[in-house]
């Protein structure tokens, strides 16, 4: 049983919009100005176990990217903290560790178009004095080879490469800092299917070989099922369920998890089956009261409108935030495959 390497402890992220002069006047006159703050992540606690890959899945507005950025040390939580080996990773708004690195979604935007590939990969290590400029060449060669790229590519510029190759460069850049934790924010979403498969294989191999602890954020349930042993499902700023991937997929505890899994078309014997969820995702600017899923939940009772359910451990390793877990028994329509 591996230990916890990284812990997000009750982190909350509220994006405050600017209160304009009009807002202030309205408030002075006794009215209520339009709410401009966005609660992107609401009191989330998450643990990453050493050497394991945790998938974070959800749709737009669920806060998975924001949570990912807080864990990566890019954003500072409004409240709560992220701890690596028990120590906070941020001091004020500054990240004080290099042990957590990130791979971003868009391989075209996350690389500086004006730098050569070799410079991109070596920049961090040189700035942090892990390698000297003289030794940089060999250093870069090693990492480019690790991600399956020809070392001669070090002299080229990012725009000369395809999406899949650029993503490999981004992975090399992250790994060159020798991190213990890798945060991947939708790293394969913008790649073609056949290239996606190559990069998925690369992730699987590298995280195993380098014993990386990984947070894999994606909206693609299939990719997460393939790569991650455990998964956490997010909806509108909170985690609604988490547990071993196979279990969550076949016997989800939360109605949203079930609805999400059922909504994905799957190819089974040629035809595909799927079941749409009713309703629309509410705007994160104006979330529903009580349980945020209550507007779309088929199992709603009165309590769901008033009281927000707490994420609790239902059975060993399986957590869910629902008032009615003990009463409802769910099986996803497409249990396996």
């Amino acid at each position: 049983m591996s230990d916890i390497l990284l812990k997000a402890d009750h982190v909350t992220m509220t994006f405050f919009g600017k209160t304009t002069l009009v807002d202030r006047i309205v408030r002075r006159m006794g009215g209520r100005p339009k709410k401009r703050s966005l609660l992107a992540v609401a009191d989330v606690s998450l643990a990453l176990y050493r050497g394991r890959m945790l998938g974070l899945v959800g749709e737009s507005g669920c806060g998975k990217s924001t949570l990912g950025r807080m864990i990566a040390g890019i954003l500072s939580p409004t409240s709560g903290s992220v701890l690596l080996d028990g120590k906070p990773i941020m001091v004020g708004k500054r990240k004080v560790t290099t042990r957590i690195q990130t791979v971003f979604q868009d391989p075209f935007a996350s690389l500086d178009a004006r730098m050569r590939v070799g410079q991109i990969v070596a920049e961090g290590p040189i700035a942090h004095r892990r390698v000297t400029k003289a030794a940089a060449r060999q250093f870069v060669t090693r990492w480019l080879e690790t991600v399956g790229l020809d070392p001669s590519y070090a002299d080229r510029y990012p725009h000369q490469f395809s999406g899949g190759q650029r993503q490999r460069i981004a992975i090399a850049r992250a790994l060159a800092m020798a991190p213990d934790v890798l945060v991947c924010d939708e790293p394969v979403a913008s790649l073609d299917v056949s290239i996606q498969a190559q990069i998925i294989n690369l992730f699987a191999r590298l995280t195993r070989e380098l014993n990386l602890t990984t947070l894999f954020i994606s909206h693609d349930l299939g990719v997460i099922r393939h790569l991650c042993e455990s998964v956490a499902v997010m909806y509108l700023g909170g985690i609604v369920e988490s547990g071993p991937t196979a279990d969550v997929y076949s016997k989800p505890l939360h109605p949203y998890s079930k609805a999400l899994i059922d909504a994905v078309p799957k190819i089974g014997d040629g035809a595909a089956t799927f079941k749409p969820i009713a309703g629309e995702i509410p705007s994160p600017l104006d979330p529903p009261s009580g349980c945020v899923f209550h507007t779309r939940c088929p199992y709603i009772v009165d309590r769901c409108r008033i009281e927000r359910p707490v994420l609790r451990e239902v059975t060993s390793g399986r957590w869910a935030a629902c008032h009615r877990i003990d009463e409802i028994s769910l099986t996803s329509k497409v249990a396996d495959s």
Binding site: I74, R94, K95, D106, L111, E123, G124, A127, R156, R173
Partner: protein, 291 residues
């Protein structure tokens, strides 16, 4: 990649014949200005050279020094052709130096404001806005009048009148680039703010600044000419194109038009050529930015 970029740039550039011609004109003028002491018969700034008897003579006049004044002479006896070339030299000097200093100051302010954001951004950019709402010429005029005549004083006035344009452009581009993922990635490593600004933000904000710089140099030249025309700025013994036009202006109605027209034409050619090159640069660099 550099060689490829330059040849790409050139192949796009030379599709616009007007811009190529303009670029050639600018180069010719620069060379003429650089070599002015060697290709002019007279140094118009050396009072000892001047002979009032030669003053106000039309083009083609053979002067007391023995050579032909191809463009005539001005009211002080200066060979107009020499005066124009030296005047171009000063115009370019003023334009480029003040442009470079304004670029440095404005870019620093704009990029720092964009990166730091928050209150600092507000303070800097509102000051810039305030300044931009002031007519540049008025500002330059007041400063030049306060500071008195002289090259350095003029440069200070020109820089003060211009840096806001650079700051505004630099801020706009840097603010957009700042939101992009590669800056986020750099901050995530983490890299220090200084490194991010100098190695990532600044190089990627350059393209529109190059365009602004080109057009602003033309504006600075025009501004300097206006100041000289109005009598502030450079001393009388070192006439720039503006002063030449001012001096020659009195004689326009009496038929001695060459004294104002030739310097005027020279000024127009210089400014137009620089603007055309700047236009082409802007068109060329724009689609690349959008990509």
């Amino acid at each position: 990649m550099r060689a490829a970029a330059i040849s790409d740039f050139w192949s796009d550039f030379h599709e616009n014949y007007v811009a190529v011609v303009a670029a050639i004109v600018v180069v010719v003028i620069i060379l003429a200005a650089c070599f002015a002491p060697w290709i002019t018969p007279q140094n118009p700034y050396d009072i000892a050279n001047l002979n009032l008897a030669d003053a106000r003579q039309p083009p083609g006049f053979v002067g007391s020094q023995g050579y032909v004044h191809i463009l005539g002479t001005d009211s002080q006896g200066r060979d107009l052709y020499s005066a124009i070339l030296f005047g171009l030299r000063i115009s370019l000097e003023m334009g480029v130096i003040s442009g470079a200093v304004a670029l440095a100051i404005g870019t620093t302010l704009g990029i720092v404001a964009a990166y730091v954001g928050g209150r600092l951004e507000n303070v800097i950019m509102r000051a810039i806005d305030l300044q931009l709402s002031f007519p540049a010429i008025l500002l330059a005029l007041i400063l030049a009048a306060i500071l008195g005549p002289g090259k350095t004083q003029l440069i200070v006035a020109l820089v003060a009148a211009q840096y806001a344009y650079y700051a505004r452009t630099a801020f706009g581009t840097a603010a957009v680039e700042r939101q992009k993922e590669y800056i986020e990635a750099a901050a995530a490593t983490p890299l220090s703010a200084g490194r991010i600004v100098l190695r990532h933000l600044l190089p990627n904000s350059m393209p529109p600044l190059i365009v602004v710089a080109t057009v602003q140099i033309a504006a600075a030249i025009s501004l300097e000419a206006t100041l000289s025309f109005l009598g502030v700025g450079l001393p009388v013994t070192q006439p720039s194109l503006g002063s030449l036009i001012a001096n020659g202006f009195e004689y326009m109605l009496s038929g001695r038009t060459w004294m104002a027209i030739y310097p005027g034409i020279a000024l127009i050619i210089l400014i137009t050529a620089i603007n055309l090159v700047g236009d082409q640069l802007r068109d060329q660099l724009n689609p690349r930015l959008r990509r």
